[in-house]
């Protein structure tokens, strides 16, 4: 990218529409949805010729998010302001009316007004499939040799917040759909930043009998998956493809395709097709949310059964519960 | 005698602390087999000179020779190697360690791999104790020992290596006359065995009794080096002060006691471990009377004063200040009732080192509404401070100077300015002239006497017998938390009081 700073939109070069700023509510390197979004930005830069300047901020600095949003929004050489995360939605709601001529895109949250487009993800649907897989694992130790057939599965979460609850209800529904006799052990580590605590918690869950633990704990989850390896059982990853972290132990990852959806939204914007005020939903039907198996672990028949469940969800035959609204 | 090389020669020793030259080109010779007294006023530089010898401080100039060989003493361990041992003015012992551990601290007897050889240390202490007739238990913890016993530990430590020169810095300050006598016996033994001894003391009579020669320092300079046989006490005092002195000691006159102002009944005080420090003490001080409390440090005097001032909570008993019961109440209660307290620990309780002189003085007058209300008026506050600074002759550049920068005497005058300007009914003071020179001492004493004559009740606690003997109208002797004797009317001799201080019957 060679779009130098401050080139006036009018003086030829790049039209304002190609200049974008992404003030984020966190830092890159979370190996999760910020990084995923950044992949989308990068792809847009190479494929679409736009520039995306990422501005990071501390995860606990709401005043800085607002500051950065306003700084970006007030520049008239910026065509689209990108931001993301459920936590930043209320800030955007406050800021966007002050800049009626600026366009915003927020991922992982609904639209916050007539000049913003939102992208949300049906994490409950992804978690539903994870729950189904977990139930199959503990039911069929013959197919999953590391499982003990304890009829017990676990979900290890970071903090008890609404989005995480959405994962939990989806997961539980998935488990019960496959086999109501399987019990679900849900635990919280209390924060998203302590891999060691994730490891300790998940280790305890495995010792208490869980055959597989699904992690929904951000960076804390890295420890949870490691616990699966140490315990010699199974883990399920989240947000991005974590199957390669510990080959042979991570049966699947539930993926939020933040990169693809963000890329698509930017592309639509450059094509003039991004409608402000609407909220796009990434779900199983449009691959905004999907499950990625480790084929070496999950046999084809189980993959097929889960594929059937997915079909039923996209067909509307199964409605996955949600904890949001 | 003149051809033998002295055991120790110090030549042209100079030591500066910033702008202050504490020791200024001092020479000192000490021969084997003599007791050499080192004299001088407070702050004359005696301790500093000896600290240079013992390696605790490095002189800025000068040379030290042991038996004619120049040596470098870069620390206490080097000093011990050169055969120099020192008993410090203020005990330098670690309370929770045993006697043996203290004796060998810094030059431990070791086994392989950095492990301590406790058995060897214990054996050596026992041997030294035997050889010099200084009884100590090597396994006792120092904190459990009496002051006298701690003194013995210090001496054993000074002797723990093969020592040829022993320095004792004011060793008798905390001892009773009897203990002092015993110490001198020991010293005579050392000298007979060929050791050299340097003795620092303010007690000229003692010096005349034991020393062979004396060196006098004034303001860091050596002003005299004499054979004791050639001088008398009065001459020594003149050398120390640097001017002619009247032959008589100051006589302060007597007070005329009136109504009781300070009444203590059945006072019990325990420390945090539950040890009884004061065991049912009764005491009355009348208006117009100075009551002196004599006693070896650590026999409950400090606790008595703290209980009266409200700093320490008594276990039982009654304390009345001008008729008001204050036992167990905060210091404020006693102050409101009319108590002034000149504490022993000047720099921690007597003044606020990091505050200006103004604050230090004015805090005693906060009830004065004329200073402004609700806001203090800075001009009036400063005027009050300036007035008291002048009245109490506190020598300070301006009232905004921090108390930390005041010399000992001026700091004490500042404390008096705060406490006495309130015209208190009862004055309790503990070691009010500790560390002060002759002029400041006299100023403080005069203040006490004037307030007595005005009708205040004064309780004076001091370990300096002469101070008590010259000031007090009545003398009480405290021993292990009890009053063991009272002298009214005729002044007793130091020896009589000393016996009681040691717990012997009169």
């Amino acid at each position: 990218a060679c779009g130098s700073e401050g080139t006036p939109a009018a003086s030829g070069g790049k039209p304002a529409a190609k200049n974008m700023v992404a003030p984020l509510s966190g830092q890159l390197g979370d190996k999760s949805f910020m990084d995923s979004a950044n992949r989308g930005f990068k792809r847009a830069e190479t494929d679409l010729g736009v520039t995306v300047k990422v501005i990071e901020a501390s995860t606990n600095d709401a005043p800085a998010w607002e500051r950065n949003l306003r700084e970006a929004a007030k520049r008239d050489d910026v065509g689209l302001v990108l931001t993301g995360g459920t936590v930043v939605a209320s800030t955007l709601k406050k800021v966007s009316p002050a800049f009626p001529n600026q366009k915003f895109l927020i991922f992982d949250a609904p639209s916050q007004g007539p000049n913003s487009t939102g992208i949300t993800y049906a994490q409950n649907e992804g978690a539903f499939l994870a729950g189904a897989l977990a139930a199959y694992i503990t039911k069929s130790p013959d197919k999953f040799p590391k499982a003990k057939g304890s009829m017990k599965v676990g979900l290890c979460a970071g903090m008890d917040i609404p989005v995480i609850r959405d994962f939990i209800v989806g997961f539980q529904q998935g488990v019960k759909t496959v086999d109501p006799n399987v019990t679900v052990d849900v635990r919280f580590t209390g924060d998203f930043v302590s891999p060691q605590k994730g490891f300790d918690t998940a280790s305890a869950m495995f010792k208490d009998g869980a055959d597989v633990v699904y992690q929904v704990a951000g960076p804390t989850g890295i420890g949870i998956l490691k616990a699966a390896k140490e315990a010699g059982r199974y883990g399920i990853g989240t947000d991005s493809n974590q199957n390669d972290l510990h080959p042979g132990f991570i049966a699947a990852s539930v993926i939020k395709s933040v990169d693809n959806t963000v890329y698509q939204a930017i592309k639509d914007f450059t094509d003039g097709k991004l409608t402000m005020g609407e909220t796009r939903v990434g779900d199983l039907s449009n691959d905004g949310v999907s499950i990625e198996f480790d084929d070496a672990i999950v046999p084809a028949d189980v993959q097929k059964q889960i594929g059937d469940l997915k079909q039923q969800v996209t067909d509307g035959k199964i409605t996955v519960d949600t904890a949001l609204k | 005698m003149k051809q033998t090389t002295p055991l120790l020669e110090m030549r042209g020793i100079t030591k500066r602390f910033g702008p202050l030259t504490a020791v200024d080109g001092v020479d000192l010779d000490v021969r084997a087999g003599e007791v050499h007294a080192l004299l001088g006023e407070n702050g004359a530089g005696k301790s500093t000179l000896m600290n240079c010898l013992f390696g605790l401080q490095q002189p800025d100039a000068g040379e030290i020779r042991i038996e004619g060989t120049p040596v470098r003493v870069d620390g206490p361990r080097a000093a011990l190697r050169h055969g120099i041992g020192m008993v410090h003015q203020h005990f330098k012992l670690v309370p929770s360690l045993t006697v043996a551990e203290n004796v060998f601290l810094g030059h431990e007897r070791m086994r392989a791999f950095g492990f301590l050889d406790r058995a060897a240390q214990r054996a050596r202490v026992a041997e030294l104790s035997e050889r010099y007739g200084i009884g100590v238990d090597p396994d006792a913890k120092v904190k459990d020992l009496s002051v006298g016993a701690q003194q013995r530990v210090e001496i054993i430590r000074a002797l723990s290596e093969d020592v040829r020169l022993l320095v004792l810095d004011e060793p008798t300050a905390v001892l009773t006359p009897q203990e002092t006598e015993r110490l001198f016996e020991t010293l005579r033994g050392f000298v007979a065995a060929g050791l050299g001894v340097v003795l620092i003391s303010h007690h000229l009579s003692e010096v005349c009794r034991i020393a062979d020669r004396v060196t006098v320092l004034r303001h860091g300079r050596r002003v005299a080096a004499e054979r004791v046989a050639d001088v008398d006490e009065h001459r020594l005092a003149e050398l120390i002060v640097g001017k002619d002195l009247p032959r008589q000691t100051k006589e302060w006159g007597r007070g005329t006691p009136g109504a009781p102002k300070l009444e203590v009944r059945g006072l019990h005080v325990r420390d945090s471990r539950g040890v009884e420090l004061i065991k049912g003490l009764d005491l009355t001080v009348h208006a117009g009377e100075i009551v002196g409390i004599a006693g070896v440090a650590g026999n409950g005097q400090t606790e008595l004063v703290e209980a009266i001032a409200g700093i320490r909570r008594p276990g039982a008993g009654s304390i009345r200040v001008a008729g008001v019961e204050v036992a167990g109440r905060r210091p404020r209660a006693a102050r409101v009732a009319g108590l002034a307290h000149v504490p022993e620990d000047r720099n921690t309780r007597g003044l606020s080192v990091w505050s200006p002189v103004t604050d230090n003085i004015v805090v005693g007058h906060l009830d004065d509404r004329s200073l402004g209300r609700p806001l203090l008026k800075p001009a009036r506050v400063r005027r009050l401070a300036e007035r008291l600074i002048e009245r109490f002759d506190v020598r300070v550049a301006h009232p905004g100077v921090f108390a930390k920068r005041l010399s000992g005497g001026n700091a004490q005058k500042m404390v008096l300015a705060r406490e006495l300007s309130r015209e208190p009914e009862v004055i309790v003071c503990c070691e009010p002239v500790r560390g002060l020179d002759i002029a400041a001492t006299e100023f403080v004493h005069r203040q006490l006497v004037e307030h007595r004559d005005r009708g205040a009740a004064v309780l004076l606690v001091s370990t300096e017998l002469p101070e008590i003997l010259s000031l007090a109208d009545r003398i009480l002797v405290m021993f292990t938390g009890e009053v063991v004797g009272e002298f009214a009317g005729d002044r007793p001799s130091e020896f009589e009081v000393g016996r009681l201080m040691l717990g012997m019957s009169a």
């Binding site: 890159l28 390197g29 635990r187 305890a204 208490d208 | 390696g55 203020h90 309370p95 990091w354």
Partner: protein
């Protein structure tokens, strides 16, 4: 039975970082050199251990590097306290800030990893299987397959005890802790003893810090320590700076952490977010019990006078 063993296993794992850190910290505390920067030392050690393990692919080299880094960082505290002559508590606070800044800077600039640093395929410290011993009821399963650092930490307890009670250095620490005057008169340099003790506390904090990254999880962020260094300090205070007392207190905190994670399993007595606060509540309760048991301190005890204002006023 197995529930108890699980609980104990969790408690032991949670104890290690605090326990290891508290051992050196107790020695520093005994020398009257409170090391508040232990948390910073842990953080730096955690990062360095991870980075070096990643670069060398040898976890032992990483461990040693982390421990040394912890010691080196705490040497800064000695520098600040004895050369710059800052108040040691305030210098400790400053160094904790410096540590989080440095750690973040190094993560970004050296490892090119914003925020979280989680190298792939990292070797981690071995876990020690007990073999047949694992059959011992409760204790066997609790100790089976624990990190080798559990044993390192236990060894640290033994070493710290021997050092304080049997060696010359321990004696000097005690002397310096009680009286600078006495130490100086014996030719012992309080500054040197304290510097050594502070560095020792940094080294053991290094063990604790390394545990957080290279024992199992292999990731680092600036909140990796989660206040473990401060909890170690609380353990030291509660243990009255004795080695065994501090170790016992550290284990108490391990139990609290285990409880906060394990009580959810048993049916959810309390909200997980409130349970998350359990170790911190325990810290306060324990200090309170300690304070109340010691009973009301003698008002304005003499130690008050050692108090030096944060900023010394000027006249």
């Amino acid at each position: 039975m197995s529930g108890l063993a699980n609980f104990l296993a969790l408690a032991i794992t949670s104890t290690i970082p605090v326990l290891a850190t508290a051992m050196g910290g107790a020695i520093a505390e005994r020398a009257r050199a409170t090391n508040i920067a232990m948390d910073g030392s842990m953080l730096i050690a955690a990062l360095v251990a991870l980075g070096v393990t990643d670069k060398t692919q040898n976890v032992w080299v990483g461990l040693v590097a982390g421990v040394l880094a912890g010691g080196l960082f705490s040497a800064l505290l000695a520098l600040a306290a004895f050369v710059l002559r800052c108040d040691i508590i305030i210098a400790g606070i400053a160094l904790n800030l410096l540590a989080s800044g440095l750690a973040l800077l190094v993560t970004v600039v050296v490892f090119h990893q914003p925020g979280t640093y989680a190298p792939a395929g990292l070797p981690t410290l071995p876990h020690v299987p007990l073999g047949p011993l694992a059959e011992i009821p409760v204790l066997g399963p609790a100790l089976d397959r624990q990190s080798v650092l559990v044993y390192v930490a236990l060894a640290l307890v033994a070493v710290a005890w021997v050092v304080t009670h049997k060696t010359r250095f321990g004696l000097w620490v005690q002397a310096v802790g009680e009286s600078d005057e006495a130490a100086l008169a014996a030719g012992i340099s309080p500054v040197r003893v304290r510097t050594t003790a502070i560095i020792a506390s940094g080294l053991t904090a290094g063990v604790g810090g390394a545990f957080l990254t290279i024992s199992v999880v292999g990731t680092f962020n600036t909140q990796t320590t989660n206040g473990a260094g401060f909890i170690a300090l609380a353990a030291i205070i509660f243990g009255r700076a004795t080695i065994l007392g501090s170790a016992a207190a550290a284990f108490l905190f391990g139990l609290a952490v285990a409880a906060s994670l394990q009580m959810q399993g048993g049916g959810g007595l309390l909200d997980p977010q409130l349970l998350h606060a359990l170790p911190y509540v325990t810290t306060i309760v324990v200090l309170a019990v300690y304070g109340v048991r010691r009973r009301r301190v003698e008002r304005f005890a003499a130690s008050d006078t050692a108090y030096v204002p944060a900023i010394i006023p000027r006249d």
